[in-house]
Symmetry: D2
Subunit: 308 residues, 4 copies
């Protein structure tokens, strides 16, 4: 197979302040499917078209934010190769044995220069996408809320952007699909990194504080579905951040909103297909408003400053 190494953003573990409203939000509003509730109270969720056991884990905690983001690797050999490369790069790895959460294979955990905890794994229990593997329909019955097809990516804020970008591109094998630089082009401000063909699997924005979480994004199939998301947001009186609108970066359609703990969610549609021979696009800070919000063409303070 042509995809070797990190395949995609596999899952994200979010801290929520109260589990009840959080689960209602992620299942009834966002429309994820609950796979499992752990003995430790964590709730495991998946988007409908994912075959793996989960892509979102909710953990109740005092503060909101992201515990870690995990990338799925093509196979255990590739995982061993990445561990070797990480060690060579001086990264300290923690191993989480297979089955610690009952469903995931062996994981390695480490901290990247922007302060975020990242995990890699190659195996997870497969629960299927609700459709038969033989002669399937095109979608399952009983989907709720926005019902995205997949967890798509996260945007993370942190200080040592250059360090994290170097680690993800040179050691972990991601590519920079788009970058944001200061107007004098001397400093990198943002990086949109892809593991395979999505416009991004993870993105980083330079900001003073380490380990901040900006949003987790979920993929919906069309601009029409994005209107459905917007209708649902208002009907449920979910706090809207901005949208529906479009990004210049990735070209994707977007709407941002907040879960009950203040973690930002996005539903996202469209965007180009990225191949390794596609040139990296560059945005300069003076035109970044259009890069982030293609229609408004200006940044908004809340989008820039509110993170968890």
């Amino acid at each position: 197979m042509a995809i070797k190494g990190i395949m995609r953003a596999g899952s994200v573990q979010l801290r929520v302040k109260e589990m009840g409203p959080a689960v209602r939000h992620y299942t009834e509003v966002l429309g994820l499917i609950k796979s499992h509730e752990g003995n430790d109270g964590r709730v495991y969720l998946k988007a409908w078209d994912e075959h793996d056991h989960h892509s979102v884990v909710l953990r109740e905690a005092e503060t909101a934010g992201m515990d870690h983001m995990a990338f799925k690797v093509s196979d255990n050999d590739a995982l061993l190769g990445l561990e070797h490369a990480l060690k060579n790069a001086g990264v300290i790895l923690t191993e989480i044995p297979e089955g610690t959460d009952e469903v995931t294979g062996r994981r390695v955990r480490f901290t990247v220069p922007t302060g975020h905890t990242i995990e890699l794994y190659a195996e997870m229990e497969r629960v299927g996408n609700g459709l038969s593997l033989d002669n399937p329909e095109v979608c399952p019955d009983g989907l709720k809320g926005m019902h995205p097809t997949r967890f798509d990516h996260c945007l993370l804020y942190g200080d040592d952007l250059d360090g994290s970008v170097k680690l993800f591109t040179e050691v972990l094998g991601l590519q920079m699909a788009e970058q944001v630089v200061t107007s004098d082009r001397k400093m990198l401000i943002g990086a949109f990194l892809t593991a395979a063909t999505k416009p991004h699997d993870v993105a980083f924005i330079r900001s003073p504080e380490k380990n901040r979480f900006h949003h987790a994004s979920f993929f919906v199939e069309s601009w029409s579905d994005l209107q459905l998301c917007a209708d649902i947001i208002t009907k449920h009186r979910v706090p809207l951040d901005i949208g529906p609108t479009r990004h210049g970066i990735t070209r994707g359609g977007t709407i941002y909103f907040f879960d009950p703990s203040g973690n930002r969610n996005e539903t996202f549609c469209g965007g180009y297909i990225h191949y390794p021979d596609r040139p990296t696009l560059t945005w300069t800070e003076d035109d970044l408003g259009r890069g982030i919000f293609y229609y408004d063409r200006k940044l908004n303070e809340r989008f820039l400053s509110v993170t968890t």
Copy 2:
């Protein structure tokens, strides 16, 4: 980077009976962009969001059909690796030196068991997608016709299906995203093969004759764009095959029509994202009608039998 080896269906060379009407069809109706006309009269075309010089080559000939389909490989090292693997598998390779067509790097050409000519290449002159690499817009001005974003895949008919599938999966590294089998599951009838994350880059259907061409497909961004395609087909009195409808296989939206020489074209939208850990789906012949035309749920003779 995580994608190594064959990345995607890169280009297809089609035979057309008269170049004038063919070029009008592919530029005004389908809405490809003419890159170049060769000294030998061949016309090179690209879809707007491709950065490479061309993805379609038209060659005037007595009969319609496909000369060859070419896959783009991630880099020249990977190309050498594939050549080595092909030779080991007993495949006879013809080398086409860099620059033979002025824009493509070194190519290797070979015939697969279903009789089709396949090429591999790792380099092609880059002409860009009509947008700046710095602070781009979301689409260029002046697009015409259906203006797909990319050449997506071909469907080929031939006799030794098992042989071609074995070569593409075991030697060339593609994966079988979906397969069609007889109702007793004893014989493979169809195979949908992906190089990276598209539902297919090339598909094969078993049929008695070698080296038949069913269609070349181009990607449009939405079901709404597919209605635009349909409107254009009727306004230009292009022969419609079937659609707009939906495939069960790939889940993609589709419309089929013919170029003036009788080569079948498709515009296609949607479809899932395929990763190597996604299970292969199986369709049985008794339910194949729904697999191919999800709404009609029955096959039509023309679709099955008309090839070039």
Copy 3:
């Protein structure tokens, strides 16, 4: 108010062979809302955005087909005026007293030259559209199936087309938005008649037998919603007639399918807005294929010949 007289196609009473499957079809698949079940076993249904008590009545009977189609008149004075005009035109009226079905005001019933039973009424109990009249949301919760917004129109087949058209246009005040004529333009074959601004409220096609029912149509909001209709049709294995496609006549998007008794349903989207100063469009029989199925550009036998 500017609309006086007949406002719209208000309701249709259909015969179904078995009430259970019929109700399941009209509520779960088509997604109408059940308002009421009469003592005589008739089931009353409405589309979600209608404020009146019902727009579809199902009656169990030996044979499928349409009992009658009813038009809603702006007010009782206008109803009296229409009764007067009908009597003057020699039409025999039957009066159905207010409240016969518990919810509809006084009705008049008569037979038109094509053999169909038509009713007029000005009042019906109002049950609302599921949204508040104060500060409403944009749609109610819990909609099922295709959930059209309204009953839109019927297409009826019958022999004395000229007679019915004359009655509807000269006595009842509808306008001919589009007409179909033989290629020599000497005979009217079809008439698309509008009461206000929809492209049609009722249409007639000339055919040898009196009082045949071709389809009842329900309005959905977009071409995207029409894809949802198509997905539902296949998932429920509802017999598809044709679509999704587009009409040349009305320009509307369309999909046709059958209820369990064989009555044809349509969901329809788009179409122009008709005002009295819009010219009547004319289709000739030789181009009627494109008029009815704009993409296929040819008629199909089942569509022409299967009626109930």
Copy 4:
């Protein structure tokens, strides 16, 4: 015919500060079609699916704003009836003889209590919608920009709201589809008035100054087309006001932007069909944010205060 009296918002005459950029905006960006340039320099424009000569007139002037809005009446008899009713109501009428602008029939002009100049006319030269009246296609070739199908409505600001509403509903025969009232429900703040079945043909908002123009709106066919509008706005660097978003009032999709003189334009899609028996909806001032911008659920200062 069932529609008698005022049928619809027929045309609007706007003042622009410089004709060249204005014409470029209304033809290249908005995508209206230029019908004619008068000897006095006025430019007459139409939306593609209108059959009448024009629906927008541009007049070069020192200040931006609206000269008048004109309503099309079903026929000259109905026009005489409305004149009679206006005179009875004490309204002073100015008659503009047939042909003053070469293409419009006899007009009457008057000022309504909010200070706006209104005209009524029953006839205008018909130029067609670019499609044949026999066997037409579904849309003409060569459409540019946003290419709305029609001029839809205006929103006007003025002081004596009660007076204008009374005149439009009691004398001119429009209906109030939706109203906005103070939270104590004692004062009317806004009125959305329909002549036939659109959610509105003209709307008024109470504001201190007479004769202010808020926007002219043009109808596009879908939420997908609204995204196209948004893309065009950014590509042409047209000043965006807000959108794409959705109204609670009318439920329509919307995007607002400014012409080069600062007149606000809207493109609008969707919305319900209004019949005379549909109840008037009421919005209270405390929930008006959601009424105007259903997704943001809050008003924005520019939208409320910037008029021409």
